[in-house]
Symmetry: C2
Subunit: 317 residues, 2 copies
């Protein structure tokens, strides 16, 4: 590991994660380590199911404001992890929660947060089965999730292939304006259904632009985005620059995935039969392998953008 | 759930965990939920191995001081979770780490902390395979560990039976005075070995007194402690009241377990053959079932003591 005298703010989040990734190589039972939405591991060499593992913090002042409804804060804390598990195509099973809280936190607020988590857990057939509690200066929930799926079927960021269609569930942008960053529905059933259709999949937590770049880098592929087809929420559409919101806001928690050409013909009708209430839109395609690149249809490069926890100004995202 | 208008400081940590436990019942695939060192789950009804899951925070100002060696801080963060996995008799397999850090944290300190974690992980055959990073006001590591053991063999707090001997590994007390709270060796090999000998097992994180009470409550059993047999560290022995340090200091990360009468005769020689460098001491016995109680051999009740994160003064423990 190269020596450095800098700080985390100077380094930034993605280089930090790369440093951690270099230092923490996995073993033979690790199918996918650091660099995807979840890690994928195999309990025994002949196991019929793989496990996906994910941790994610939700911190007051970063992910929610002090006056947010505590029930929705709990819901969001679990929902973020469920969204990551969904993006692998897995079913969530077991959840642990580390609570950090100031001593003067109201017990009823903590009760409400766990009620919000428990309700969402029940909705998706998983259970909160452990965790820890500790006093701290700022209210934080650290949620650890464990999901399962048939061996070898996890959908990764690295699976995009030339010719694949780029698709997204739902509508994008304005999650902070509308409050949907607290009340979103993680696409758990959709993610499992998409296991049979998608080559690559990722959830949209840092904004469409950032996630397209993740797909491009991990797949070593060039992507082309048709900006006119990006599905917008009404709250994004009400702003002066809805596309910018859809590309860079983050916290939409929709799924971005690629469908290979031989699966495209039947896709729309199968999707509508399975999820009649939820749009699913083709927004572009994978055009070339060998080098990471993301451009608009007119050839303009797409900025890598997105939120960096160590470099961006502190605000709820 | 009963309504309350109080704060976490007024409620205290154990009642808080009881409230969370009531609100978050597990499903049929949960073998052991909240209330033990780890949760125990079963991937499929016919799985040959069970999974143990644990999360634990290590927070600057609570678990270590700002001038602590970052490599040892990382070692401690992982070591605490390995100790909990060991106390179930399981082998640690996969680790996730949530890092929360101020933007002005030195990159070399984070590198050192992950190097400390990675070295300890390699020593025990497990791998750091994921996690997340977020900016925050105070440096924190939230470690999530996943271990495995043969189906149905997890050693629980609830397994103590009348007639069992109470035993501890190593020596107790003075972990803060000696610095061993940062540099302890989690008893991972010992815990797996003890799976074949112990009825109940727990690691000593909050102090011997607190852990004896956990065993008594979860097993609904009365325990008798012989204070003259409690093995003391040299740093505890150098204080004016070494037994108080052994009972209430915490962070010894030794194992406390019970051995049934039919296994006691061969225990000492088998232990010495397996772990010639590490003492293992009989410190009392389980005398009665039906009600939780812990007393000294002369009949004096043992105070429940131990550190409460929400009620005790804030200091590294």
């Amino acid at each position: 590991m190269q020596a450095t005298n800098g700080t985390l703010s100077e380094l930034g989040e993605r280089p930090l994660i790369s440093r951690i990734r270099r230092q923490t190589a996995g073993g033979g039972d690790v199918v996918t380590g650091i660099g995807d939405d979840c890690a994928v591991v195999r309990l025994t060499p002949d196991a019929a199911e793989d496990l996906v593992l994910k941790s994610d913090p939700v911190i007051c002042g970063h992910h929610f404001l002090p006056d947010a409804d505590p029930r929705l804060v709990g819901r969001k804390a679990l929902g973020r992890v469920l969204s990551d598990i969904a993006s692998m195509g897995a079913a969530p099973r077991w959840i642990l929660v580390d609570l950090v809280a100031p001593g003067d936190t109201a017990v009823r607020d903590i009760d409400a947060a766990y009620a919000g988590m428990s309700a969402l857990a029940r909705e998706h057939g998983c259970a909160i089965i452990g965790g820890d509690t500790c006093r701290g200066e700022i209210l934080e929930y650290h949620v650890f999730g464990c999901g399962t799926l048939p061996r070898g079927t996890a959908r990764l960021r690295s699976g995009a292939r030339p010719g694949d269609a780029l698709r997204v569930t739902g509508r994008l942008g304005g999650s902070l304006l509308s409050g949907s960053h607290l009340s979103f529905a993680p696409r758990v059933r959709e993610g499992q259904w998409l296991r049979d259709w998608a080559n690559a999949m990722i959830d949209i937590s840092d904004g469409l632009a950032s996630e397209l770049w993740h797909l491009a880098r991990e797949s070593q592929a060039a992507l082309v985005l048709d900006p006119g087809r990006v599905p917008l929420t009404s709250s994004a559409a009400a702003t002066g620059d809805p596309l910018r919101h859809a590309l860079f806001d983050g916290e939409d928690f929709e799924l971005l995935f690629t469908v290979p050409p031989d699966r495209e013909p039947g896709f729309d009708s199968a999707w509508q039969a399975a999820f009649p209430e939820l749009p699913c839109t083709r927004i572009g395609e994978v055009v070339r392998a060998g080098e990471a690149d993301v451009r608009f249809a007119d050839g303009t490069p797409l900025a890598q953008g997105g939120f960096d926890h160590f470099v961006s100004p502190v605000e709820p995202t």
